[in-house]
């Protein structure tokens, strides 16, 4: 397997993993009745934005420009989760949501964003090692990732008004 294929498969796997994590957080919210909060949704949107950058990379050929954008999305998501961690660190605002494997979801989100930053750095190093331009490809794997993202967004669009209506969501 050459370095171009490794890049493509890594991008695709990255999208699948992030989609799976958003889906797990979504299920966690309904199955274990996680407390609904707007910053959690913003963290999920940041993960979806990272997927967008990687999907565009697969669609038009891998470029450093979209890895840079992915880093911006990671910084945004990490900022929101860090804000939420510091918010709940205050004794006046204790978190009432149940922990998952010892940590709350927003703490997991920060760990995920740190892991994403590490992965994008590795992908950028791999890109720098690639001599030829990587050709765009839109195969079955990319179409499945696109469908997965669309389904995640549709499910959120359907269930957010049920939980908090059309106005500002209560934290």
């Amino acid at each position: 397997m050459n370095i171009e294929n490794i890049q493509r498969i890594s991008n695709l796997l990255f999208i699948y993993v992030l989609c799976a994590l958003v889906a797990i957080a979504y299920l966690f919210q309904y199955v274990i009745h996680e407390h609904f909060c707007p910053p959690c949704l913003l963290q999920r949107l940041s993960m979806i934005s990272i997927c967008y950058c990687l999907l565009v990379n697969l669609r038009y050929g891998i470029s450093a420009k979209f890895y840079g954008l992915a880093i911006l999305c990671i910084i945004e998501g990490a900022f929101v989760s860090l804000w939420q961690i510091s918010y709940h660190a205050c004794p006046q605002f204790p978190s009432i949501s149940p922990p998952l494997l010892g940590l709350r979801l927003y703490s997991w989100a920060l760990i995920i964003f740190a892991a994403c930053l590490f992965s994008v750095a590795i992908l950028l190093i791999l890109l720098a090692a690639t001599k030829e331009k990587i050709a765009p490809k839109w195969g079955m794997g990319e179409k499945i990732a696109f469908t997965f993202l669309a389904l995640l967004l549709i499910s959120h669009i359907i269930f957010i008004p049920i939980q908090c209506g059309l106005s500002t969501c209560a934290h």
Partner: protein, 50 residues
Amino acid sequence: MMIGLFIIYFISLFLILKNQSLAFFIIIINILLSMLLFFYEGTGTLRIQL
């Protein structure tokens, strides 16, 4: 508010596949909108509670 952002993201998913420059522009707009909503909704809630 949040529902609006999710709808914008859903429309963006189809638009990013049209053109590379458009995709770049749309992703930046999405990031800015998310940050704007965070400052409006997230910190707004904190101010009310304080």
